[in-house]
């Protein structure tokens, strides 16, 4: 009796120590967000103060209005939202269709094609920066949406993910639908796609994040400020010496809003999307 009491008390103490330690670490993880939030409420001249501000200031509206008035950040948000959404939708189509072909069909050239995909998965994408830039120059596509959307649509990782997920669908199910007279496209859209819905949402989040945060490639093919995506706009704002820091940090905060919303509303799929890249390989 007294023995179990000691055990309970001991584990309670341990639990307190562990929870406190994790909480202390969590403060450091969250503190930069808190600082950013507070910083967006101060004017450029008094963001940095000693001691730092811990309570919100009066300039939130001023920074917000100023950002959209003095810079093209609003346009960049529209660009990024459009490009990321379109990329996600088209990427899902390309990756699921290709993944389906690899998972459920036998055809000539299958191994060669799949091997080529595997190889590019291992190659650093920075190698393709210069050639892609030249392609876009030759097509007259600098500053265009399609220059951002098309090159990464055939995402090897996405194709692998879909292939692996679709391999688990029983062949009998597909055959039965064919025998029932369903056309090949109907089999795909009405039998195959609904069964892989969880993987689809994970891939969708992965694609959206990848495009929303992509930086070096857009930096290369976007030349005029009207075409900038959010990361390029933020980096260029920071590069200008005259930039209003209140506005810059406001833009920084706004840039994570869409992602934060996705994260809060689709937390399970969001984590799955992040993990997909790691666990499924």
């Amino acid at each position: 009796m007294s023995n179990t009491n000691i055990v309970v008390r001991k584990s309670r103490g341990r639990s307190l120590v562990l929870t406190t330690a994790i909480a202390a670490g969590a403060v450091f993880m969250v503190l930069p967000f808190y600082w950013l939030l507070i910083a967006t409420t101060y004017g450029a001249h008094d963001i940095f103060a000693t001691p730092p501000h811990f309570l919100p200031g009066p300039a939130f509206v001023e920074n917000f209005v100023g950002l959209f008035r003095d810079t093209m950040f609003g346009r960049s948000m529209v660009n990024s939202l459009f490009v990321s959404t379109t990329y996600t939708a088209l990427g899902l189509i390309v990756c699921t269709a290709a993944g389906y072909a690899f998972a459920k069909f036998k055809f000539r050239g299958q191994n060669l094609l799949f091997g080529a995909l595997l190889v590019t998965l291992a190659l650093p994408s920075q190698v393709t920066l210069v050639p892609l830039f030249q392609i876009m120059v030759n097509l007259g596509w600098l500053d265009s949406y399609q220059a951002l959307i098309l090159p990464n649509l055939a995402l090897p990782f996405g194709i692998f993910l879909m292939k692996q997920t679709m391999s688990t669908i029983p062949d009998e199910m597909i055959q039965a639908a064919r025998i029932d007279g369903a056309g090949e496209f109907r089999v795909f859209s009405q039998i195959v796609l609904p069964t892989v819905r969880p993987a689809l949402s994970a891939l969708a989040i992965f694609l959206f994040l990848a495009q929303w945060n992509d930086f070096v490639y857009p930096l290369v093919v976007l030349r005029s400020p009207e075409s900038y995506t959010v990361p390029v706009a933020l980096a260029s704002l920071q590069g200008i010496g005259t930039t209003d820091y209140g506005q810059l940090l406001m833009g920084t905060m706004l840039s994570m809003l869409p992602v934060l919303i996705l994260f809060l509303f689709l937390q399970r799929q969001f984590v799955a999307g992040i993990l997909a890249g790691a666990v499924k390989q």
Partner: protein, 310 residues
């Protein structure tokens, strides 16, 4: 299967026979997989395969007064003798060797904590550590640049409480690297912890029970059950983090712009500078292929090491 076919026979009987004739013995028209693959093949060949091949060709050329000329291995011999390339390589290597181990060890510790019944409100802490990932690379670069401000930065304010004098985070060659390591660790540790946690939860409870019955201490259970169980996830995160860090670009570009005095110039940044500041496409492509070889060799070595240990 047989009953399925039989039950659906009436339905097929009503359908026109014509399309069935085109079907092969495998049950679908031979062209079907190619139709599904068509978009992917076109995009893959145009925007992946061709650029990789084109980059290799470019790396064998140089631009002489606006004319592209074949230059053989000249770009590569120049690269081998380029001190700035070695500097970029060394910077990248140092950041890799310091950041990845710190981050992954922290992530394992966190995952153990997240998995422990002793931790209160576990899902809340998991979210708190994971949330930095919602910030884009450029965004958190800008944020940390502000936090690391020498005179009025928040970080220097915090360390003044433990009696330290202000640190020139971004103005000193050594501290600039430390800043990048801290920022990256903040950003990616939670994500890796979640990867480990997912793997940990797939380790069978009976292994722990057996260890418990054998009288193993908590540390022994961690060392002999948890860590071996985590192996696949560790192999994966080590290789992915290594490949990612070797291509490091966004953080140094925004946080330090490669400075001071090229102390945070990475291979990725050096490639970008040569390609899009000096427009030396040949040399930039050679750097790209050198990076490819380095990544390939290091990944192979890591795979070999992991294999030997098992």
């Amino acid at each position: 299967m047989n009953t399925l076919v039989q039950s659906s026979t009436p339905a097929t009987a009503e359908k026109p026979v014509a399309p069935r004739r085109r079907r092969s013995s495998v049950g679908y028209p031979r062209i079907t997989p190619y139709l599904f693959l068509m978009p992917m093949i076109l995009l893959f060949v145009g925007f992946k395969l061709y650029p990789y091949i084109s980059a290799f060709w470019l790396s064998l050329t140089k631009n002489v007064g606006g004319e592209v000329e074949f230059a053989g291995l000249e770009n590569y011999t120049r690269l081998i003798a380029d001190p700035l390339f070695y500097k970029a390589l060394a910077n990248t290597g140092i950041i890799l060797l310091v950041q990845v181990p710190i981050m992954l060890v922290l992530a394992i510790v966190l995952a153990v904590a997240f998995n422990s019944v002793l931790l209160k409100i576990r899902s809340f802490w998991r979210t708190a550590y994971f949330v930095p990932i919602v910030m884009g690379l450029v965004a958190y670069g800008i944020l940390f640049r502000a936090l690391f401000n020498t005179n009025e930065g928040f970080v220097n304010y915090l360390i003044s409480f433990i009696g330290l004098s202000p640190i020139p985070w971004l103005g000193d060659p050594l501290w600039a690297k430390v800043s990048i390591v801290i920022a990256m660790t903040w950003h990616y540790t939670g994500q890796n912890a979640i990867i480990y946690l997912a793997q940990m939860q797939s380790i069978g409870g009976e292994l722990y029970e057996a260890a418990h019955v054998d009288g193993a201490s908590a540390w022994q259970r961690f060392w002999h059950v948890t860590l071996p169980g985590l192996r696949p996830a560790i192999v994966l995160t080590v290789i992915l983090s290594t490949i990612g860090t070797l291509q490091l670009f966004d953080e140094p570009y925004v946080l330090t712009n490669g400075g001071p005095d090229n102390a945070t110039l990475t291979v990725g940044m050096y490639l970008y500078q040569n390609g899009f500041k000096f427009f030396d496409f040949g040399y930039a492509s050679a750097i790209g292929y050198a990076l490819t070889i380095i990544i390939g060799v290091i990944s192979l070595i890591q795979l070999r090491l992991f294999k030997e240990k098992s």
